[in-house]
Symmetry: C2
């Protein structure tokens, strides 16, 4: 048992030394363009988790919800009631496109959201901006992908992080991003007749 | 333009009707076994996002951190300072195994965490339990996968949700789970020499 533990310690010392050498080469700091996409769960909730981290670190942040406007999601409610000082919140969307059934209104809402987003990103006080479900607005061409990517690359202050979420991220955005995660659905209880539930889904 | 909008509305009405029919078949409620795995980012932060949702909905919850014990992560700090009443927090782990370099101590820490986890899961007041990075403890056999799966399937109250995170989820756990998401790494700024940064990584 002691021998096992000694071997384990030696192996772990080697791993730690290799990791420390690797980490020592990572010295840069940079405001990142981050994309969460894919059909799996966790795209928005992990971005909200990052907002909570920023709040914990005293980093002012901002959220624009592009699509889920008429859902009173738990996160938006929490930001509004408990963290109004730490995090700005704009809800531009009025629901999914099959709920509003009005393309002109959806386009107008997306553009309002994008104007708010640009203001937050340009604001030197704000260090982290979440553009929740903006990929849906981009996918339907409610917003112009080239305009969004050009703004991020040219006008985003160097130390500001911007997170863009939603399925079907456009290739231009993936190309411009620093950090891209795809959430992949492995198993989902919908197929067993389980409905969306508070805490888990909203 | 008006014609475009009319066609759009008709198409969206059909999509909405199909969705409404699908959703109407999903009437069940059930406490879920949820797994976040894969090499990508967002496994822990989306689980913390769900904890925040539960807090927003007034659902009492609990978190056991199995591995990141000596990291003062933003989330743990926020739970401790702002949500101590809404969410119980136990930190059993003392860091990654290559940090502690002591297998016996890692095993003891994992077992302490699992005892706390069982208490939270059995507690009828608690509706949502996050076992953060438990997959690491399972992978190194610090905890017995059969014992963990049997407990979840046999002793978890029917309406309690349990979320288990970490890379390399064991097949037995995936088999037992209701909802499994794999976070897939598409692009990471580490390769460009960017270090872990507050808000984004911790």
């Amino acid at each position: 048992m002691q021998d096992d533990n000694t071997r384990h310690r030696e192996k772990m010392q080697r791993i730690k030394a290799a990791r420390d050498r690797m980490i020592a080469t990572k010295t840069g700091e940079k405001g990142l363009i981050i994309v969460h996409t894919g059909k799996g769960k966790g795209k928005s909730s992990s971005a909200f988790g990052m907002v909570m981290r920023c709040i914990a670190h005293g980093m002012p942040c901002a959220v624009v919800q592009f699509i889920k406007g008429n859902w009173l999601t738990g996160e938006a409610e929490l930001l509004r009631t408990r963290f109004a000082e730490e995090c700005r919140l704009v809800i531009s969307g009025e629901g999914f496109t099959w709920e509003t059934q009005d393309r002109d209104r959806d386009i107008a809402a997306a553009r309002r959201g994008w104007e708010a987003a640009k203001g937050f990103i340009r604001d030197p006080e704000i260090r982290f901006v979440l553009l929740d479900e903006i990929n849906i607005a981009l996918r339907y061409d409610y917003l112009d992908i080239d305009e969004v990517v050009a703004f991020l690359l040219e006008e985003k202050p160097p130390m500001t992080h911007v997170v863009l979420t939603g399925r079907n991220a456009k290739p231009e955005l993936i190309e411009a991003a620093d950090l891209v995660t795809e959430m992949t659905l492995v198993k989902h209880p919908f197929r067993d007749g389980i409905k969306a539930q508070p805490g888990v889904e909203f």
